[in-house]
């Protein structure tokens, strides 16, 4: 790593030496133009947290040879310049001062371009600075978009107030048949990295649990459990994790705007007691597929998604053909949003309740995430399926648990995939992944969620070089906001993954679990 840093530094210094930093000076004479400035990424009209890193951008005007951007907030201003490439990079200290001074107000941006005929001034645009900060860190996996194989991937942590990105854990850099492993589904407890987990697949497999700065690897192998733990949710107060366990497969479209369909053949919900290393079922069913568990902030309700697939199957055919049968009806598999009450003291579950019956409107729900104040459930809704990260129809919706109202976050949504999301600890921000920039590579967007429960126009997380959004050949996957940084080192995680065997969790049945192996549960919509 050090070696590479040295190389990057050397190359970067060379770049700096070769290129000249353009001088930021307002032109004394310029012509007004009615045209709007074309900037990339689109930061016009967005709401930003006061602690966000500079929103560097590229001005797109092929006729110009130089640019100057003039940002003005409450009593503060900032000047930044760009050469022919149009890349406007702002001074971090000046930017911070500008945002702090502009909290609760607007910042106006005037862009000037030098063309053959002289300087021109575009119509100014604004962005707003909210009062509330966003959690400092966002963690994500960087991986090529979709598909079956994996090679060099890692979970990284980005400081949103700067441009610093550090690896939490990277898999083996060099191909090695005996070492190759995939990592996924990292998760924190309520925005704190004190408790963290992620899965390791293939070689060295297991679920890595990090607590008190120490990592250990566990697995859930039992004849009653259909697969490993997959989508996790830490209980907010107890040392428990709810997992889905999914028998998953994926197929590839041949002629469709959507490229991949990821389907579950079966899925159940598990409860894992971290302290006792015990696992039990929450729901175990054959034809009801439950997935994406998420605890409410008080820990008394578990939200999840569920579908009932038996009506899609031909009764005469054996269960071994379920995969093929579902494949032929992939666009008829739809999930509802459910909840199940939980008593943290007795660890007893109650009866499932329908939260949003999306199937009646031929829609499907996935990834419920409850706001930190417990009032809203943010989820994605698409036309079918549960792996909405590949569904163009996927949009962000919320359910107001006070008013029972469901509505789309129109300002945050796009024509393309808007999916996996994570709340900031104060509930005023959420980060989500979207394919809106090129329809293929997901990028992380941040949206302001106001007190009225409305989202505002989101912005892509800023990069020191804004063109990096174009050049990066990886997708941002599973963004998770956290207040603090992950403290355990990649080396310690490496040691845990490579040098320890996964401890098998003891299976201890929960007497209140819902076990129905060949029929419906209360989670299923009523049939006529």
């Amino acid at each position: 790593m050090m070696r590479h840093k040295v190389l990057y530094t050397v190359v970067s210094v060379l770049f700096v030496l070769v290129g000249c930093k353009p001088k930021a000076e307002l032109p004394s004479q310029f012509a007004e133009t009615n045209s709007e400035v074309q900037i990339y990424p689109d930061y016009q009209g967005v709401v930003v947290p006061p602690n966000i890193a500079p929103l560097n951008f590229i001005v797109r005007d092929s006729a110009a040879t130089a640019f100057v951007a003039h940002l003005q907030g409450k009593g503060h201003e900032l000047l930044a310049a760009a050469s022919k490439n149009g890349v406007v990079k702002m001074d971090s200290a000046e930017w911070r001062a500008l945002l702090q001074a502009s909290k609760g107000g607007d910042v106006s941006v005037d862009v000037y371009a030098e063309r053959d005929e002289g300087w021109v001034h575009f119509k100014p645009y604004k962005f707003s600075v909210a009062q509330e900060p966003i959690d400092t860190f966002v963690s994500y996996r960087l991986i090529e978009p979709g598909y079956e194989l994996y090679r060099q991937l890692g979970i990284y942590q980005r400081n949103l107030t700067t441009f610093d990105e550090v690896p939490i854990y990277e898999n083996n850099r060099q191909y090695n048949e005996g070492e190759n492993h995939c990592i996924n589904c990292h998760n924190f407890r309520m925005g704190s990295t004190e408790s963290m987990l992620f899965h390791v697949r293939s070689n060295h497999s297991g679920t890595v649990i990090v607590q008190d700065g120490k990592a250990r690897k566990v697995q859930f192998k039992d004849s009653t459990i259909i697969a490993s733990g997959v989508y996790p949710s830490w209980h907010p107060t107890e040392n428990l994790v709810a997992f889905s366990t999914n028998k998953t497969g994926q197929v590839f479209h041949l002629y469709s705007p959507e490229k991949i369909e990821v389907m579950d053949e079966r899925s159940d919900l598990l409860l894992y007691d971290v302290t006792k290393n015990e696992v039990s079922h929450i729901i175990r069913t054959t034809y009801d597929l439950e997935t994406f568990p998420c605890w409410s902030p008080d820990g008394r309700t578990l939200y999840y998604c569920s579908t009932y697939v038996k009506p899609l199957l031909i009764p005469e055919l054996p269960d071994s053909t379920i995969t093929q049968q579902l494949l032929l009806k992939y666009d008829s598999v739809r999930y509802n949003l459910m909840s199940i009450p939980f008593d943290p003291k007795t660890r007893a579950f109650g009866q499932p309740k329908m939260e949003v019956e999306a199937t009646t409107e031929n829609k499907s729900i996935s990834v419920p995430r409850v706001s930190p104040d417990g009032r809203y459930v943010l989820y994605t809704k698409g036309d079918y399926g549960q792996f909405h990260i590949w569904h163009i129809s996927s949009d962000l919706w919320v359910k107001d648990l006070q008013t029972e109202e469901n509505y789309p976050l129109t300002e945050a949504n796009s024509d393309d995939v808007d999916s996996f999301h994570s709340w900031s600890s104060n509930g005023r921000w959420f980060v989500f992944s979207s394919r809106r920039m090129d329809h293929n590579y997901t990028r992380l967007f941040v949206a302001y969620f106001d007190e009225q429960g409305r989202a505002h126009k989101p912005f892509v997380i800023p990069q020191e070089d804004p063109e990096w959004n174009v050049l990066l050949l990886k997708s941002y996957n599973v963004p998770e906001l956290s207040r603090d940084a992950v403290h355990i080192s990649p080396q310690a995680l490496h040691q845990c993954i490579y040098e320890t065997e996964a401890e098998n969790a003891t299976y201890k049945p929960n007497p209140t679990a819902i076990i129905k192996l060949d029929g419906m549960t209360g989670a299923s919509p009523k049939k006529p």
């Binding site: 070696r3 590479h4 190389l7 990057y8 190359v11 090529e144 978009p145 979709g146 598909y147 079956e148 194989l149 994996y150 090679r151 060099q152 850099r173 060099q174 191909y175 048949e177 995939c182 996924n184 589904c185 899965h199 697949r201 259909i226 697969a227 490993s228 997959v230 989508y231 999914n246 028998k247 998953t248 497969g249 994926q250 197929v251 590839f252 479209h253 041949l254 002629y255 469709s256 490229k259 369909e261 990821v262 389907m263 053949e265 995969t323 093929q324 494949l327 792996f387 920039m437 090129d438 329809h439 293929n440 590579y441 063109e467 990096w468 174009v470 050049l471 990066l472 050949l473 996957n477």
Partner: protein, 540 residues
Amino acid sequence: MQQKSSKQPRKAAPKQASASFKKKESIFSFQLSVAKLPVLIVFFLLTWLWAGWYYGSVFYISREYSLWVADPRIMNFVLNQPYGILRYIGRAMLLLYKFPWLGGLLLALMLTAGSWLTDYCLRLRGSWRAIQYVPSLLYMAVVTWHGLDIFFEARTGFIFGIPLLALIVLLICALIIRSFSRKPAPAFFRNPEGETVRQHFLQLGVVLVVMAAIVGFDMWKRPYVRVICRLLDMEYRQDWVGIQKLARANSTMSNRPMACSYAIALVQTGQIAERMYDIRLDYDSLHVHGMDGMHNNASVLYVPEGNYYAGFLESSQHACMEQMVMTGPTIRLLKLQIKCALMREEWELAEKYLAILRRVPFESAFVKKYEPMVRRLDLVNADKEMALIRLTEPIHDSFENQYQQPLFMGYNLLLVEGRSSQALTNSLCVCLYTKLMPQFIERLEPIVGTTPSSIIMDGILLAENKQPGLSQHFSGLNFRQPQLQTFLRNMQPYMKDRAGYAYELFPKYKGYYPYYYFFGNLKATKKGYTSLSSSSSGVN
């Protein structure tokens, strides 16, 4: 002795000497002077010939299977590998193979300089001087031994990286020696002082014999390497006629990358139903290894392109992405991704890949051709290659898994509707290639009453076993019936060991579909519907 005599002024030839004698003498003296060229110069010229002409196409394709841009962030996938910096620099040098003579010149200079420095560092004398060529010849031998493996899994940084490293080490050694011993450097452009004729020819002999052995080994054991690379080069240049000529010239050589290039060229020139079986389609084993070191079927070399030209653009993107995951991006994959994205109207995606390709030296021609097509569907559809591919795109969506894998030329078992007669012809040909007669018969209806092309006619005659009277619906088949009967009669003795006789019979029945039906591609599997690939964990 000869050296001395060569410096002596030549005696004027008697005027009465015959012209032929004069000619012989001048040839002899030219040969002599060439033979007496410093061996290092001869070595350089031969190496340049090898690296620029003989193996130039292999290095050219290696360049296409590589990527280099200055930005270390984009190149992180290389830099974070062991010897990352060496790979990075090696990939940069490989870029010169855009022009094989130039890349070959650089490589030849490096190998020659390495030999020169080896001589200096080892203080070689007399006959031992031949040793100086051993490292460079060893490099050439290793490259030849690896064949397609030198670029197959994109370890392309080592092609120049290893000689560069060797050169640096030798240079450091030479500088140290120079500092301490003040030993004079050996001559580069003239024969060393005191070198005898025997020593001179010994060195020359070693160089010539070993290089001949290397080339001989390549022709004997890896004959397909240069052919495949030349075919791929022509494919990238859309030289469809060139592909057909080369493939037919090597018709007994059989491998899937060649078959795919040939099929693509035939489709592009509308000859798939006429000339498909002009080459042997039995698929000999290739010396190719995957990242796991295990023997590989080399599908990496043709599946993305095969899918693209079969009109399966999403499958091509899929195959490209899988390879980009495993090897990192390469020039060839970026180009194909750009074309697929343009055809699928994924304009931003095309721009993304173009933005990276624009940073690759010597790729401006490709960028210049395809960049204007962004957001211009009319230009995309006007492109000759893309327009033809459009005709074979599927009409309905289905899943790749429901098709026979790999999608070489489109094993379109589910394709029952096509956009054009071209798509139908391709589909009929694929059915014949896969020897799936029921599917072939199903697709014949639209051409009932016509005179089909020769291969399809033979297919219909063979399919009569499954559906008697089938041939009556088509005209022109009567002429081919006797030929088939004769063939079937003549083949009776060979039917007991079809695999054993296939190679022997090929030259006689080249191009004749019934031969392929009974004797060709016997290892082909007939997988139909494949199930959903499942895993017990999350997916990416």
